[in-house]
């Protein structure tokens, strides 16, 4: 999983405070003391005092914006987007007019400051969006819904090359070792397009459909309306930066919503390297179907780039791992590592042993199979 250290959020907050003070305080200072300040740096006085005052006013506003982000970052994410645009545009025009000799180099200080803050705001934004996924990727298993446990789990997935099956077998081992019974439903697309090995034309069709998110349909999953699964685990492979079409088709059919509604659900993603968006897509679909997401795991195939990427291309092109034979010694494996499989066994065990939310005011349930 993803456990390396990151810059603490308070560092980003104080960087916001710094630019808030610089923008808000600095521009008031500039309006009051622009003559001595510009004289000090040998910069000419503004030709158009109105535009100068307007720029100071807008820059002051961005300072207020940054202060609001400092106060409550989680509640002001859209303001960061505005801040990114404001800072980037200011930096761009500063460099543009400076490069044309229309601006004294003194103003480059502000341009460089805003360019740096464009990056800082971007990083802060990336840090703040979808915080629930960070919790899941930390390895946490969240509390399950407050309903009786049947000790039965359902797996839903579509594995074209076998990597997904391998991952789900590991989760199954973990769940079964903790007393769960596991049933699985493999998604069966109505179209014959989704098969492996494939021809170049089929590959191109799958690729273009994946990029443009063209949906597919599935044969009925035939899961009883009143099914007794207390846990649903869904696996999706990455297909061109997104989740695979057959797995997404489960959720695109509103009739399948009942499968997840009010149940504990978990997401598993396996891929070459781009796991983040498919995972977010899968988790959001699970949530929108009414599922209570208790865990998520994403694993990349082992190996170093760029050979891992080209190994995948060769695998997809030849239809088998380790081909062409003369490159066999450098090609990477097309399934998750043994270590990842072991971790998925533990994930299965942890899912089986997940805690249950206690709803205030309701008597605790006595039955607690598998927990």
């Amino acid at each position: 999983m993803h456990s390396h250290m990151a810059i603490p959020i308070k560092v980003f907050r104080y960087l916001c405070l710094l630019t808030a003070l610089a923008n808000a305080g600095g521009n008031v200072g500039m309006l009051l003391f622009y003559r001595p300040i510009l004289n000090l740096f040998g910069a000419p006085l503004p030709k158009d005092i109105y535009s100068f005052a307007f720029v100071c006013g807008f820059s002051f506003t961005v300072g207020v914006l940054a202060f609001m982000v400092f106060l409550a970052p989680e509640k002001t994410v859209p303001l960061l987007v505005v801040g990114i645009f404001g800072k980037a545009i200011y930096a761009f025009f500063t460099f543009y007019f400076w490069s044309h000799g229309a601006l004294h180099p003194f103003y480059l200080i502000f341009g460089a400051w805003d360019a740096a803050y464009t990056v800082i705001f971007f990083l802060f934004l990336i840090r703040l969006v979808s915080p629930d996924l960070t919790v899941l990727n930390r390895g946490d298993i969240l509390e399950g819904v407050d309903r009786s446990r049947t000790g039965k789990a359902l797996f839903l997935y579509f594995s074209m090359t076998g990597n997904g099956s391998r991952a789900m077998n590991s989760v199954r081992k973990g769940l079964e070792s903790a007393g769960y019974e596991v049933d699985e439903k493999i998604c069966q697309p109505n179209e014959s397009l989704f098969h492996f090995p494939f021809t170049l034309m089929v590959f191109l069709r799958i690729m273009l459909r994946a990029i443009f998110r063209v949906p597919t349909t599935l044969k009925p999953l035939e899961i009883a309306d009143d099914h007794t699964y207390d846990l649903i685990v869904v696996e999706s492979q990455t297909w061109f930066v997104g989740m695979s079409a057959p797995v997404e088709a489960i959720f695109q059919d509103p009739k399948n919503r009942y499968i997840f509604s009010g149940r504990d659900v978990a997401a598993v993603n396996v891929c070459r390297g781009l796991w983040q968006r498919p995972q977010a897509q899968l988790v959001r679909w699970l949530q929108s179907a009414g599922g209570n997401v208790v865990g998520a795991r994403a694993y990349e195939n082992p190996g170093h780039e760029p050979i891992r990427c080209f190994s995948l291309f060769f695998f997809l092109g030849t239809g088998a791992p380790g081909k062409p034979a003369f490159l066999k010694s450098i090609l990477t494996q097309q399934h998750i590592s043994d270590k990842a499989e072991s971790e998925l066994v533990c994930f299965g065990q942890a899912l089986a042993e997940r805690r249950r939310k206690v709803t205030p005011g309701l008597p605790p349930l006595i039955q607690s199979a598998g927990a």
């Binding site: 390396h4 990056v119 971007f122 969006v129 990029i211 390297g273 968006r277 959001r284 760029p306």
Partner: protein, 145 residues
Amino acid sequence: MDLIRVFIQNATWGPFKDLINLLSLPAERTREWLTLLAAFMILCELTRLTIATVFTRSVLAHVSRCLLTFAVQAVTLALILVWADYRHPERAWTNLGYALLLYFIWYLAGQLVLLARPDTEGADLGFMTVGALITFPVGVIAALI
């Protein structure tokens, strides 16, 4: 109609013409175009990583992310190399070196995100290499012709 005609006649393409001229990578303005292209590479990578977990059902967001994985950056740099070679053929090989520097900046931008958020993909060296297989052959062919 007069109003529209006057409106159009007084429009200016100046900044765009200047931008196109700057993207011919003239030697005397190296600092400017290098800053511009570095900013472009950084912004593309940060945008790609920002939209990783948001707008999960948006086709536009998804297509954007796919394009920003390597195509936008690689094709843009390839076109710039061709244009620069057309305008300043004597600098073709030097520009390839700058293109390599821009790929390095692209990589650093992706890895920088790992410092901000632990659960991020970071730079995708695999697809960056695919991008390089677009940019550099085009640049080399342009230099040879």
